[in-house]
Symmetry: C2
Subunit: 569 residues, 2 copies
Amino acid sequence: MLMSKLVGERTKTIPSEAVIKSHIMLLKAGFIKLVTNGVWTLSMPAKRIAENIQRIIREEMDSIGGQECLFPVVMPRDLWEESGRFNSIGDEMVRFKDRNDRDLVLGMTHEEAAVHFVRDSVKSYQQLPFMIYQIQTKFRDEARSRGGLIRVREFTMKDGYSFHETQDDLADYYEKVYEAYFRIFSRIGLKNFIAVKSDTGMMGGSIAHEYMLLTDVGEDTLIICPNCDYKANMEVAECKPRINEIEDSLQLEEVFTGSAKEIKEVSSFLGEISEKKIIKAVCYNIKGDSDKTVLCFIRGDLEINEAKLKKVLKAEIVPANLSGTSIVPGNIGPVKLEESSKLIMIYDKSLMNCRNMVCGANKEGYHLINVCLDRDFYVPEFHDISKVNDQDFCPKCGARLKINNGIEIGNIFQLGTKYTKSMEMKVLNRDGKEINPIMGCYGIGIGRAISAIAEEYADDKGLNWPISVAPWKVYICALRIDNQNILLKANDLYDKLSKAGVETIFDDREASPGFKFADCDLMGIPIRLVISPRSLEKNVVELQKRDGSLKEEVPYEKCVERIIQLCRE
Amino acid sequence: MLMSKLVGERTKTIPSEAVIKSHIMLLKAGFIKLVTNGVWTLSMPAKRIAENIQRIIREEMDSIGGQECLFPVVMPRDLWEESGRFNSIGDEMVRFKDRNDRDLVLGMTHEEAAVHFVRDSVKSYQQLPFMIYQIQTKFRDEARSRGGLIRVREFTMKDGYSFHETQDDLADYYEKVYEAYFRIFSRIGLKNFIAVKSDTGMMGGSIAHEYMLLTDVGEDTLIICPNCDYKANMEVAECKPRINEIEDSLQLEEVFTGSAKEIKEVSSFLGEISEKKIIKAVCYNIKGDSDKTVLCFIRGDLEINEAKLKKVLKAEIVPANLSGTSIVPGNIGPVKLEESSKLIMIYDKSLMNCRNMVCGANKEGYHLINVCLDRDFYVPEFHDISKVNDQDFCPKCGARLKINNGIEIGNIFQLGTKYTKSMEMKVLNRDGKEINPIMGCYGIGIGRAISAIAEEYADDKGLNWPISVAPWKVYICALRIDNQNILLKANDLYDKLSKAGVETIFDDREASPGFKFADCDLMGIPIRLVISPRSLEKNVVELQKRDGSLKEEVPYEKCVERIIQLCRE
């Protein structure tokens, strides 16, 4: 490629919403251009990086028996009615009508399409297991797109679906994908990533893992044990049970607390009493059923984990609207409060064995003190609905847990039979019985992978691509291009590298050395070759790696050979 | 790939709407599966063929300086408002609203996205010319999808856009694309294809060519000169001017013709008078302006070419609704009929110099005879609005023209400045003047290419892929797989071929030879290898080409080498 013809908006003007490194540098280098909120055009170098990532993904998916297919972007409503997701998924799914008034949707994931594709022809366990995958465009109407290619509305994704006779077989295959994903992320150059247990969300299923790039700018919160291999997304993270010290029960009393409502205010009003000694109440409504109030009780120093709560409730939740109820916000407590058809009460495990606690008196301006479990209120069942924090200890080894931020770069799910059951896919197992095959599904977002690599490698000067995914391996800077000898040599080198299969971009512009070096650094091309009057004199080429690990002069004749060697390393 | 695990619905039950060879065979071989009207899933072999075609397209596009980008499928309304196409394109474009009530569209073509991508950064003629292209999913809500992948609603397309300083430069580049397209279609194996002049339709622009696979089942009608290089789509085809013989003018008369309205009926009523001697009238309304009637007059033996008519009118047309007008259907004639703000009259060139014609008397039940141009009616301007037919002669060399059907497999357009002007893309030319760059655009449908190849090569036994695009080059049929020796040899051959980079599918199923041979033929794999007890005894492999051009026994040890040689040929 000739730099003089490369289209892309290399610019210094960066909009204020670009705050993370990868977003800023991809914009500055002209790799991406916003078309509308969360929808981007990729320029040639970004597309080449995407292709390199896709090639690596294909190789690894094929190596574990994947069959690449192509499912459609547009699907009919009835397919999504079958799985129940036409109604269960909210505004993030685009729905529209065609010219004949039939309902269509834009795919955000393809479980339905995968089952539809195979259910008529796969009838026997002998055809199992298999995995089909595609690399295709998806659209998800995110409320808040951000971070360049990190959170977008239109994206390219590799999504794979495996089908199994037994849970054991799924577990075996899941392990293979788990390993293949490590190979993929390593091969595209990522280093600082981990796999964590994760929530299965709208996908259904039980076990799931997310692959996370560890970075301060990540929007996911991860709980990591520094001592053992325990790692989980905050949404599902657990910890060692928290101990409430055994105390003698004191006399229950009602005390005036005035306008003190928040935990901090109540603690302060009552003489800096520990937040651990206060029962916090948090209210929600069940989504689509505003009559139903969910009242959660948890120890005052902890936060509600809404992902866990949703699982307990098996329902979506929204912030509560308490008008029209007898609940007194800020003075809610479990004593003498009864469950009803309109009131669901959920107790976090942190309240087990609690004594002498403070809680709202269900009366404006008053709290109760010395509240004791079993004496003053009764809990039929405790649930884990708390967020783990850095005061908690590892559920596996007991070490103090750490918190990290991460960007999700991939995910794998054990889906179970949610889709094969609802969509009536049946095969005969080896005992001649009809079963619904057990599914796994496996995703990697291509754009997000580009951003993750950019985030891990970019520096103040710009992007910095690992050689495995770089849009071009080599950038030829010809200085003083008006010098015929230099132009000839540079062109010759460009030809030779291209013929040797080394992807090369040749900066043929009449521009200053500084300008060319800056663009080369900004675009993050791994190897820079400089041909200048000085190098010409010595019959060498100045070779420098973008990561600063190498700077050398190579005899002109040996240059191609040396580059090939560097690309192989 | 192991045949036992290949997913795809090989079937004998073909729906009645599948009438053409490629559609039937792609279904039978399980290469495609309908998801909803005009929307398909591609199975692994079809996806591999698509990838092979895409690789060839990329190589040829890159060889003429193309830069592969990726534009979005979903675009905002305002981009399409800028070009004017949000309103000018009908129901075939999908429009929907996002969660914030903003209007979005699904891209059916990407001129707008291409101009949007480059207009802020390309400012000087020095950055011109360039060509950007993508291979991406598109959606077009076709009223009638048909023929498998031939006419669909969702499709993958290579679309390219070039930008130029001058028309001459565009013309030069257009020629390069013209040649590259010949190379592409040849390399993917097509033989019986031609490029024809075509209509520019909704794309705008002047010169355009379509690449057409010649086949009886094609939905396009092509006019071809068997003597010179003249070739055109019916929509734009011209012919040598038709001569009306000079006659003495006879006396104008009104005659009773009763219920005779159609040309045939009038001819018959008047004693089998030649259709050439009758003036045919055809009515339309201007789309969106039902008040305006368009009245076309043409020689009775000819048909109106609506594509040409639209160009003359510079407007879309719909079938006429004559209620409320004074026009008498079936008795319309040009004599004493006057143009008005509500009536546009268009005369075809076939009426030049006509004398002693029959036409409607604008009076129920009557026609005029001996109508003469200039004496009885006056024509300010003639237009070419006729369909060329096989009675016509070549406009270039005068030979009698032929008619062929074709399937469009690609198209190229000289767009001009339609998009750069409306979307205000400006660059400084070499004289320092601001100009709108001149664009070309270039499309190839991937699915349609798959169907075209299938259509050209398939036979009664099934598909038949040229080696350049075949999903696998080799199909290993191991007969009597229960024989350990055979299984070992077959596996060994499969490994060796795979390691040598020869894409191979191994039929490892316990099935009869006939069953395996039939599947191999149905799927159209170019080279079949048979390993059987008989061949094992002779230490050979039976090699046979799908096209019947080769059948030989190859020593087992020489097999890989021989295959590589065959793949190169």
